[in-house]
């Protein structure tokens, strides 16, 4: 054993080598390799040529792609809904009432089940003579049956509902952790000052949850733009292109039509959009939509 091999630097790299190799090949390489790949017409058949920015020009005129981008952006509407509902749920379960742990577990069940199972289930619930229509008609919300997943105007929103429903428990747990880290003295002090429940939530809870809100917003944002499983199992992008999202379109171009070059170009465009939106979220969070007195 040489002296160098006994140093901490050597040991450090030896520990990290296997993990970093995997990260390099399966995380870093796809990001880097996507760039040159997007400048070619690489596919399984025929020779590969350098085509410059042709793929990007094609993308800008590809109506299906533009529709898919729009649908992905519409999907982002679930991000604020997720935060609001899961924060309210976290506040509701942040007590020591009997059975509260059973309720928390029940809310988490959709999170642990596979999207395939969830999607199959909801495809029946949402069908025109399914349970959702039955309940809504009993309540008098709708007058006649709606094919939620087979109607262009509702399909995307029905899928958004499924995503929301499946994710709420996960975000609830994250926010619950945030709530439990807030010292109770703050609420006691506010109570003495005569603050009501709403004021306490708005002036204490929300400002102190901000790191959690940032984290949850970012991961749900990335999840929303890259949403795939729901439409892959349920609608394949239909009816028409009503539920075609960018991830699904990239998958179809790349792994169904084996048009790797074009799919890479589309992927890079989407990555840039995700990056830009993440920066916007960071900025908004720093400026703060909510006032704090720290």
């Amino acid at each position: 054993m040489t002296r160098w091999m006994r140093t901490e630097t050597f040991a450090a790299w030896a520990f990290m080598a296997p993990g970093l190799l995997i990260v390099a090949v399966f995380v870093l390489w796809p990001i880097l390799y996507g760039i040159p790949l997007s400048l070619t017409d690489y596919s399984v058949i025929g020779e590969t040529h350098y085509v410059g920015f042709e793929n990007y020009v094609t993308a800008m005129h590809d109506r299906s792609f533009l529709t898919s981008l729009w649908n992905s952006l519409v999907y982002v509407l679930i991000v604020p809904c997720i935060q609001i509902i899961s924060i309210l749920m976290a506040i509701l379960v942040n007590t020591r009432l009997p059975l509260i742990k059973a309720f928390r577990a029940a809310y988490y069940v959709p999170v642990v089940t596979s999207m395939v199972a969830v999607a199959l289930m909801w495809s029946w619930l949402f069908s025109s003579n399914g349970v959702v229509n039955y309940i809504l008609m009993q309540l008098g919300v709708i007058q006649e049956q709606v094919g939620w997943l087979s109607t262009s105007s509702t399909a995307l929103y029905a899928l958004m509902f499924i995503t929301l429903w499946k994710g709420l428990g996960y975000y609830m747990v994250l926010y619950l952790a945030g709530l439990q880290s807030i010292p109770s003295e703050l609420y006691e002090a506010a109570m003495i000052d005569g603050a009501n429940r709403g004021q306490m939530i708005w002036r204490i809870t929300i400002p102190l949850l901000r790191p959690h809100i940032l984290f949850c917003t970012l991961i749900s944002l990335m999840g929303a733009i890259r949403v795939f499983d729901e439409m892959f199992v349920l609608t394949k992008g239909g009816p028409g292109n009503a539920t075609l999202t960018s991830s699904l379109y990239i998958y179809q171009k790349g792994l169904e039509q084996f048009n790797f070059g074009y799919a890479s170009a589309l992927g890079l465009i989407v990555s840039v959009i995700i990056g830009a939106l993440s920066i916007v979220v960071f900025r908004l969070n720093r400026k703060g939509g909510v006032q704090t007195y720290s």
């Binding site: 040991a11 790299w13 993990g19 029946w124 039955y134 499983d229 990239i250 990555s271």
Partner: protein, 293 residues
């Protein structure tokens, strides 16, 4: 007069107390009503699916919907179990999940350990690159993964299924956060006794980060158990599919046989729900702790 005053004071006191109790009862009733309503919304669909699977011949679309079964018959389960070769798919899923979970635990513990506790040149660079990969996610990763797996001749193998997800940057961060809480004296004491770096890691440090390992274990069990898309892409042979992938196949074949699909779905969902219910305490606490860091 004195007595009368006392009496009236007592009376107002007791009525105030009653009012408080009534208010409390109303409050708790409302809270529990809300809790039950949400629970019904979150688990009702599963209960309904269970009912459908247990009542062969009953129409899925019968109105009013049956949340609780009116009779119980396991015919759907018996038939779909015979048709689908479930033991095989369960074995496949267990294999893939075990490989993926072990790889993730070992690799993230190894990679995160020096990042948290060693001083060496390049540490900050490695860390910065890892953060960057999380900010710029590749939307086309699956395509490049597919090419890489083909190039490595790992198509149609479980290694090919597991390798791209053998370690995630998220898990590395999570373990780094856990390792950071370990005092440096632990490593120093091991060195003083002349233990090798590998032994210090294995015998002294790893036992202290069990909560972090538990979180990765549970997160990855769920991720690998439920994964269906990548196995479909990599595996040419449907016999090698894990449960979730086989389920999409079943749905394609028998989209009209609701009872079978419901039974198959319940079979695939039950193991993961049972695992979750038994480990939820560690899971919820661990997940909460991991994000705090």
């Amino acid at each position: 007069m004195n007595k009368a005053m006392e009496h009236s004071r007592e009376h107002t006191l007791s009525s105030a107390a009653t009012l408080r109790i009534v208010k409390k009862v109303i409050r708790y009733t409302l809270i529990y009503a809300l809790l039950i309503l949400i629970a019904l919304l979150m688990t009702g669909p599963f209960l309904w699916l269970l009912s459908v699977s247990l009542m062969p011949g009953r129409n899925v679309f019968s109105n009013p919907p049956a949340i609780l079964p009116t009779f119980i018959d396991f015919a759907n389960y018996a038939q779909v179990w015979n048709y689908m070769n479930f033991p095989r798919y369960i074995m496949n899923t267990v294999m893939i999940t075990a490989m993926g979970v072990v790889a993730n635990i070992i690799l993230s513990c190894m990679t995160a350990y020096p990042l948290a506790l060693f001083r060496f040149k390049g540490r900050d660079t490695v860390f910065a690159i890892l953060i960057a990969t999380m900010i710029i996610p590749s939307a086309t990763a699956m395509i490049v993964h597919y090419l890489t797996i083909q190039w490595l001749h790992l198509g149609n193998t479980y290694l090919g299924v597991v390798l791209p997800a053998a370690v995630s940057v998220f898990n590395i961060f999570l373990m780094r956060q856990t390792f950071l809480s370990i005092p440096s004296e632990i490593r120093d004491s091991g060195k003083m006794d002349g233990a090798s770096e590998l032994r210090i890691w294995w015998q002294l440090v790893l036992p202290l980060v069990k909560p972090g390992i538990a979180v990765i274990l549970l997160l990855e069990v769920m991720a690998f158990w439920n994964n269906f898309l990548w196995p479909i892409v990599v595996l040419d042979d449907p016999e090698k599919y894990p449960l979730a992938a086989a389920l999409t196949y079943l749905n394609g074949q028998f989209s009209y046989n609701f009872g079978w699909i419901a039974a198959g779905t319940i079979i695939s969902v039950i193991p993961i729900i049972v695992v979750f219910l038994f480990t939820q305490r560690y899971y919820m606490e661990g997940l909460a702790g991991a994000v705090k860091g």
